[in-house]
Symmetry: C5
Subunit: 96 residues, 5 copies
């Protein structure tokens, strides 16, 4: 799982039926020290994350698990909103 | 999920039976700012996407989900045609 | 799914039982403009592909789908032999 | 599977229900010679690993297997704490 | 699937129950011309491979298939010991 920040929303009217009513977020992957890492990706939301939230997202086939028993064709899903990271050398508190 | 643009079609007569009657699209991955990213890939179509459409495509095993209950050996599938992207700093409207 | 060319065959007598009687091909990944991309990979065959054929291959877990209902430990499978690619700027005809 | 070292813990109150009561570890991937490789990742724990432990972690969809029959949206899980590595040229003993 | 050489063994007493009694090999990925490619990985063994063997290994979720019906949290498994590679320009015979 990786760390990221919600930076936008994607809208698509014509889409696979199994994506109906799913929110598609634009997420900027980040390092645990707060730097942007590479390009934004599109992820479904399973943690009621909103704009600006620091989040944990899951990729690959596990990304579809939060929407089971339904089958959802996603390969990236936001699964948690981060409160705090306790590193052996530092502590990061979201919104702190 | 990633952003791309449909730039062509692939034709293959001799193929795995489970790909019969599936459209194979040539998709150019793109950044959310409209630049080409890396090389085109081949993706099946699950959103009635056509040439020139800006699309969202799913990779890895979730790419086979739109074709369930059948089993389809695809690792990339177009799952939506993008209308609009609301980034925190800008808005992108397809065809706008 | 990616484009490649069949450039050889791999032989292994001692192997996982589930690979018995499966052909293992050596495939050179290629760009849609015909250039070699990176290193050859090993893929099972599900399209009766032969030496020199231009092929489409699937990676990740979908690579095992052509061999269902059996379970086959492959992460790359040739699923189609390409006849033609219609790009918006050019057309490629195999063997043409 | 890859080698890493546990360097911290991630806390998230608002998260997917299926992650409730799972420990999220911050793991620094390492080479078999003890050097850091790339950036830390977030992994669930299935081996009672603690801070500083040298561990083996699994990625992709197998990462969800330790939590079966439940379905858990993780793409990285610590599955073992390493005691020793016997390389053909050297032996590494953890904590040695 | 990729080519590699068995260069060692990993020992872990404290581990996920589903890895009990599985051999964990240290495998150096190799090119089909015999050069080392990148860093060693850890793979389970499903082909009775031993130190020094030239092997084919499978990654991603198919790596768990050799151990079915049990569920095993591995993302890399040795599935064959290579005898010979017939490339269009050369032939490689293991141990030759």
């Amino acid at each position: 799982m990786k760390l990221g920040r919600v930076i936008g929303t994607i809208w698509a009217t014509r889409k696979d039926d199994r994506l109906e009513s799913r929110r598609m977020l634009l997420v900027q992957p980040m390092s645990f020290r707060g730097r942007d890492l590479g390009r934004p990706i599109t992820a479904l939301d399973s943690a009621e994350a909103g704009a600006g939230d620091l989040v944990i997202f899951t990729t690959a086939s596990e990304a579809a698990i939060p929407f089971r028993p339904g089958l959802t064709p996603t390969d990236a899903t936001v699964v948690g909103v981060v409160d705090r990271v306790d590193h052996e050398e530092w502590t990061f508190v979201a919104g702190g």
